[in-house]
Structures are given as structure tokens and as C-alpha cells.
Assembly symmetry: C2
Homo-oligomer: 346 residues x 2
């Protein structure tokens, strides 16, 4: 059975789901459910899943970042409660809530440094648990997305996976034996900040020079393209406007634009050589590349592998590269998976 | 209690040990024992340990690599049997044998590609088990050394450790949660073959260019020093003779020799930047540096950290660097630890 996500299937599942749930409401079948929540800077994605991992329904609410984001958790809780009520689900049918956010999620369930949300430190687990009286698992958004992709996306069927998310920045996560590697100081899987070009003179947001993120993120791709445009290469359809986007550059590259292709080569070189190093450290079963830039598809995989292969030991040359498949739903899936894993452990 | 290894303690332990064993022989105390064996290209190191991990006695036998090394396992078995007999230990007192060798140790207990020993493929586990009628665990020598250092050496007290061995080549191992990470294709922890200098024109033994091993191994250090000597820098006591050794270079560096220090800087840069990448992938609790070159001591740690720190995210800057402490005994310790871990699991 193919569980990859798409609109048609979601509709079918929703229909099926509602039927099942009505049964449950009538006490004929006490199937269990859980909520997966992905809190982003603009919106929160919420999903209702069966305990076997089927997505029954998903919806979004805007993220209210006013007043240092102090209403975010309350809004999420209210939305989940409302959905539970509308579905006629009993409290004992809900295993709990898995929730991911930007920032660093501590073992105490407190999220620290989620700048996008206005949080310095937010006791997400405590707040949500108090409010809903349900089990709550909290994790970082990049880790959740990776777990989601491993569960039902590009990494499905594997246990050891490295995921890289090429978005505004470059996120990363290492999964070993089905579990996200946290690391001793919270920096495991920080592939975006591996130093790849020691001669870089511009500074990365992290304070270092020559990080993967400076070349392989949307911002990085635009930065590199602008540098190339300064050289006034005539062989390009791109122009240096304030609106120049990663998508424009990737579209131009796909149409064979030489300058755009040069910029994508820099991206491939930075990420490919970093992933070769990753392979020689943890030797995963699969690499999964996601995020907006990976939306360009095969061209990205091809160019990353072009630089990956000569840099890695022969035994690692054929580690497969897959595109992420769950898009913006990955975090929601991963949060639910974390909830399921944690429930199993107890 | 300090369990770090030294001669005096060994003597004390041996004495204590013999007493204990005599007791056992008399049936008063059925303490259990195990053998840890480290098979090297020149000699095999053998140790008798209590099941609580105390080394009672260690000895060596030459490694007979004649006839494609087909007598090695037989000689090890005979030596272990003899020692058991001399000690008056009953069969039921011996948990088993942990043994490490160069090459890749498969889950089937077969060692492949141990070129130094003359083995193409050797069914170490089966041979030793048949011969001794005891439980046998087989692992790779670099992994065993790392496990040994974690257990009773530089990594003692930690669970997540990265070990690098700077010998003729550069070996590496990743230990997470007390277990060696094997990787999906046998290349996990291959820190010696992470590419660090993309512009290198000489080829590494692995076939790639710019690997850590080309700068941070004994061979690498000599190679770099020779290159610097070609420039005829007058500020050095070193001369390019066929006998030029890593030890000479390191001694000269310790005495402030400018050219030797320059060579050590290259070593530090290669290893430091590779370990920064390692930190951003798996984020260990500690780095342990061993092997002949690490025998130079603090100078190596200092220079590696000099290049490590600016290359790693701030949260990883203070990961401790320790020197390995068990020297050539590390593999023997690690083999015994593997035996104990495997016995516990069952």
C-alpha cells in the first residue's frame, strides 16, 4: 500500500475516517487517535491521525506571533479541542499530541530560542498538557520533518537516514535506528553549518565563514547568483532585481541558463562535499533532500551527487539520494510519529 | 578508583589475580573470566580479564603471517588454552573470547580484507569456536581500540565518543550510547578519509585526493615535512633522509623547530577541520586522539583544537579532547568489553 500523501488519498481517507470515527462515537469501535502539530512562523499545521498512522484530516491555523507569541499554544489547544468535539471523539480515544516548533526542544519540554515565534523560552509541553490533560511530546521542527520523511516519505523503509532541508536556511537531521540523533550539545545534524569553503569572506548567520548554508539555501543560491551577475556574464536571462528568487534561478537552470547552472553547481559542490563527509562519519542507508530548493527535483539530486561521489569512499558512492515527499506536512507526520514512538516505549 | 593502566598496577593485579584464581581452582569461589585478544600484523596481544573488567594478566605472541596467515587463529587458541590450564581455570569459568583483527569483521564472524595478516577472508569466529568450544566475538581493531578507550581509557565516563587513531594511517570510530556505530556500508567513522583539502594533487591510498590521512598520519606528516624541506628553509634541524620519522618531526616541533611546527600545523588544520565537521554531524561528548602521533601529547591536542574551534558551531567549541590512555592495550580491552556486552545482551 502506498502511503505517500496526495490530495485524492487525503479526501478518501477523510471520508473513510469520518465513518470510522462515527462508529467510535457510538462506542462500537474504540479506535485510538493522535494529533500531530507543526508550528511554523506563519501558520500551524495540524493533523488527526489514527494510531496506526493514517492521516484522517489536516487543517491549518495562523500563527499569532503577537505579544512574544504567548497565544500560540493556547490557539493550538483550542483548535485541537474543537476538532475533537466536532469529531465526537472521547478523551480516552486520544493518545496525545505530538508538536514540533522551531528552536531547541529540551528534554523538559521547554522550547528555547524560537526567534520566529517570539519565544525566548516556552514551556510548550507543560502548557499544552495542563490545557488539554493529554500526553504531549515536543520536538524540533527539522527533526520532526526528518522523522516524518523516514516514516512515510522519501526515507520510507529505511532505519538510518540523513535528511537535509534546503529552505531559507539549510536544516539537517540524522536518524539512526529510527531515532533522531540529538547529540550531546544540540548540534547533531547541523549539516547547514559544516564548513565547506574555508576561503569565504562573507559571514554566515551563525558567525562562521564558508558554511553549507551560505551556498545551498535559497538565500545562499541568490547570493551566489548575484555574485555571478556582478561579473556581467551575457549568457543569462537573470537580472539582479530585489525580487530575484531561488525559484527563478532554479527555473532558469532547468532551461539551461549558463549562469544559473553555475550557481547551482556551487550549491551542489557545497552540499555534495559536505554529504560525503557525513557518509564517512555515520554512513547512512539513504540521504533525503527536502525543502523549497529540492522542489526543483532531479536536477538538484544530480548535481549534488556529481560532487558527492568523487569525495566519498567507494563503498559509500551508491548510497541512494531521495527527494523528500511530504512537503510541508513532514513536520506534522513526524510529530505524530514521535508521539507513537514515545507511547510504545511506555 | 583509577583503573588507568600502568605497570605497577598490573603487577599488583597479577598477584591479586593469581591468588583469586587459586581460590577458584579450589572451588571456593567460581569467579568468571574472559580473554581479550588483539591480533596485529606483528604480534598478538592477549589478556585475561575478570568478568568485572579487571586485567589479571597480559602477554604477547608473534603473529605468524606465513601461508596467508592460516596459523594465526590456531596459535591464539593454543596460547589461550595453555594459559587457562596453567591458571587452573575450569571451562565453565571462562565466559569466552573477544578478538579483534585488522580488516572488516562481518556479522557472520568472518574477517575480510585483512591484508596485513595475509587474509582474504577468514572465518575467525567459527575457527576459534570450534577449537576452544567457547563463545567468540569478533570485531575490527580500530573499533575495539575505541571501545577499550571508552571503557577504561581516555573516554572513560562517557557514552558518545569519537576516537581518532593517528598511526601509520588514520583510523577512526564513532561510539554512540556505548556502542560502535557500524554504518550501513562499513564506512562509519572513516575520519581518515574525509576530504579536507580539495586542491591536493597527490593521491591517497584510498584513491581519493585530500584525505585527512594524507596530512595527519605518520606517513602524512613525513610527506608534508619533506615538501617543506624541498623549499630549503634554513630554520630547521630536520634533514630529508630515508630515515626521517614522525617521531623526529614531533620532537623537533616540541623543541620549537619552525619547519616541524609548520608541518604539525598542517596536521592540525586537516584533523581539526574534519573533527569540526564530525561534531556538526554527530555531536559527541568527547574526542579521544590516540596512536603513535598522539604520543607527542598536549602539542597535538592544542594544534588540532586551534583549527577545530573556529570551524565548529559555538555550542560544540568546548567538546573536550582527550589523549588515549591504553596505548597498544586498547584493542585487547575493547575486545573483552565487546565480549562482556554481548554476553549481557543474551
Amino acid at each position: 500500500m502506498d502511503l505517500s500523501y496526495n490530495e485524492d488519498k487525503e479526501k478518501r481517507r477523510r471520508l473513510t475516517g469520518e465513518k470510522t470515527i462515527r462508529c467510535c462515537g457510538q462506542g462500537e469501535n474504540m479506535e485510538k487517535y493522535g494529533f500531530g502539530v507543526d508550528v511554523g512562523g506563519t501558520s500551524c499545521k495540524l493533523g488527526l491521525f489514527t494510531d496506526s498512522g493514517k492521516l484522517m484530516e489536516k487543517w491549518e491555523i495562523p500563527t499569532d506571533t503577537s505579544e512574544q507569541g504567548e497565544h500560540i499554544i493556547e490557539h493550538v489547544a483550542a483548535s485541537l479541542e474543537r476538532r475533537q468535539r466536532e469529531r465526537g471523539l472521547a478523551d480516552e480515544q486520544i493518545i496525545g499530541v505530538g508538536i514540533d516548533t522551531p528552536g531547541i526542544a529540551g528534554r523538559d519540554g521547554v522550547v528555547r530560542g524560537a526567534v520566529n515565534l517570539g519565544w525566548e523560552a516556552c514551556p510548550v509541553q507543560e502548557q499544552l498538557k495542563m490545557r488539554l490533560q493529554k500526553k504531549v511530546c515536543v520536538c524540533n521542527d527539522a527533526n520532526a520533518a526528518a522523522l516524518g520523511e523516514l516514516w512515510q516519505g522519501g526515507g520510507r523503509g529505511y532505519r538510518d537516514m540523513v535528511m537535509v532541508t534546503l529552505g531559507t536556511g539549510v536544516g539537517g537531521a540524522v536518524i539512526l535506528n529510527g531515532k533522531v540523533l540529538a547529540g550531546a550539545h544540540g548540534i547533531a545534524g547541523e549539516i547547514g553549518h559544516m564548513t565547506v569553503f574555508h576561503k569565504e569572506i562573507e559571514r554566515c548567520v551563525c558567525g562562521k565563514y564558508g558554511c553549507v548554508e551560505q551556498y545551498a539555501s535559497a538565500k545562499g543560491l541568490i547570493r551566489i547568483t548575484r555574485k555571478l551577475l556582478e561579473k556581467k556574464d551575457p549568457y543569462t536571462i537573470l537580472v539582479d532585481t530585489p525580487e530575484l528568487s531561488a525559484k527563478q534561478i532554479l527555473d532558469a537552470a532547468k532551461r539551461g541558463d549558463r549562469l544559473a547552472l553555475d550557481a547551482v553547481e556551487v550549491l551542489g559542490k557545497a552540499l555534495g562535499s559536505a554529504l560525503a563527509a557525513v557518509a564517512e562519519v555515520i554512513d547512512p542507508e539513504v540521504f533525503v533532500i527536502g525543502g523549497g530548493i529540492a522542489g526543483a527535483g532531479e536536477i538538484i539530486l544530480r548535481i549534488v551527487q556529481k560532487y558527492y561521489r568523487p569525495d566519498v569512499l567507494p563503498a559509500g558512492a551508491d548510497i541512494p539520494f531521495e527527494l523528500a515527499r511530504l512537503g510541508n506536512d513532514a513536520g506534522m507526520y513526524g510529530s505524530m510519529k514521535l508521539l507513537l514512538d514515545t507511547s510504545e516505549e511506555k
